[in-house]
């Protein structure tokens, strides 16, 4: 069993859904994002920037605009040379995956602040 403070050599699963999963690698300080066939490794800053990009897509327009241009959304994963080509269903699944991951990261932060860094007396 690992404690909050320990660095693990194996990537730790952060969140999983039907289309993908995310892991944290403590050796490289990166978030590994597995989505469909794609697998990218992101620095935390890039992960948060990527999440912002994904969250900023106007889903309403994608649903109601019949133009072909709105069928897919292409989003770059920062500094990875990878582009995600996302249908509406992909986008919703990716948003869920990133939101779940963000929640786990936030929870980990909270646990660190309240438990690991809390005085033991």
């Amino acid at each position: 069993m690992t404690t909050l403070s320990q660095t693990t050599t194996q990537p730790i699963e952060l969140y999983t859904n039907a289309k993908g999963a995310t892991f944290q690698c403590d050796l490289t300080n990166r978030i590994i994002l597995q989505f469909g066939e794609a697998r990218v490794s992101l620095r935390i800053t890039d992960f948060l920037a990527f999440k912002k990009k994904v969250d900023s897509v106007d889903i309403h327009t994608m649903i109601f605009n019949t133009d072909d241009a709105y069928d897919v959304e292409i989003i770059d994963a920062p500094r990875t040379n990878h582009q995600f080509v996302l249908t509406l269903c992909d986008l919703i699944a990716l948003r869920d995956l990133l939101a779940g991951t963000r929640f786990t990261l936030e929870l980990n932060s909270l646990l660190h602040a309240r438990l690991y860094f809390a005085p033991s007396y």
């Binding site: 690992t2 909050l4 300080n29 935390i44 800053t45 936030e106 980990n108 602040a113």
Partner: protein, 177 residues
Amino acid sequence: MKDLVRMRTLLKEEIEQLLNKQIKMEAHSSSIYLAMASWCDRYGFQNSAGYFYKQAEEERKHMLKIFKYVADMGGTAISPEVTDVPQDFAGFRDVFELALEQEIAVTNSINRIVDACRRLYAYETEEFLMWFVKEQREEEYVARRAVELFEVIGEEGVGRYMIDKAIPKISYDEDGE
């Protein structure tokens, strides 16, 4: 498991967002003051134009102070896009009333961020913002005094000329001397 988010930055996400909004507001203020300086120059109020040029510079310095803080603390400082800058004003007095309104809006905004800092236990940012809390006291005093001059001197006759002459002399002395 490492805390990657905390390792990256001291700033909580909500605080970072609020600071970036404030960066934008300071940049907007700077642009509004620049527009006011231009308006005053166009209508012959040279001293007031000088006052607003100085104010525009000050607001930019405020923006940079927050910008650098966000960047230094590991956050993402966003270079702001400034739009909707009014270029024309109804009159000499209106310019100063709008300037006062702008300062009040900035004070309120700073106070809201301090409030958020207390709610989220972001004491380091609260301490950083105390400089702005103090600065806003001075900024509001100067802006309010400028509007007051319109009452004290009056706009009739050479009134506007006298007000324009008095504007650069306004200063805030905390000790009341």
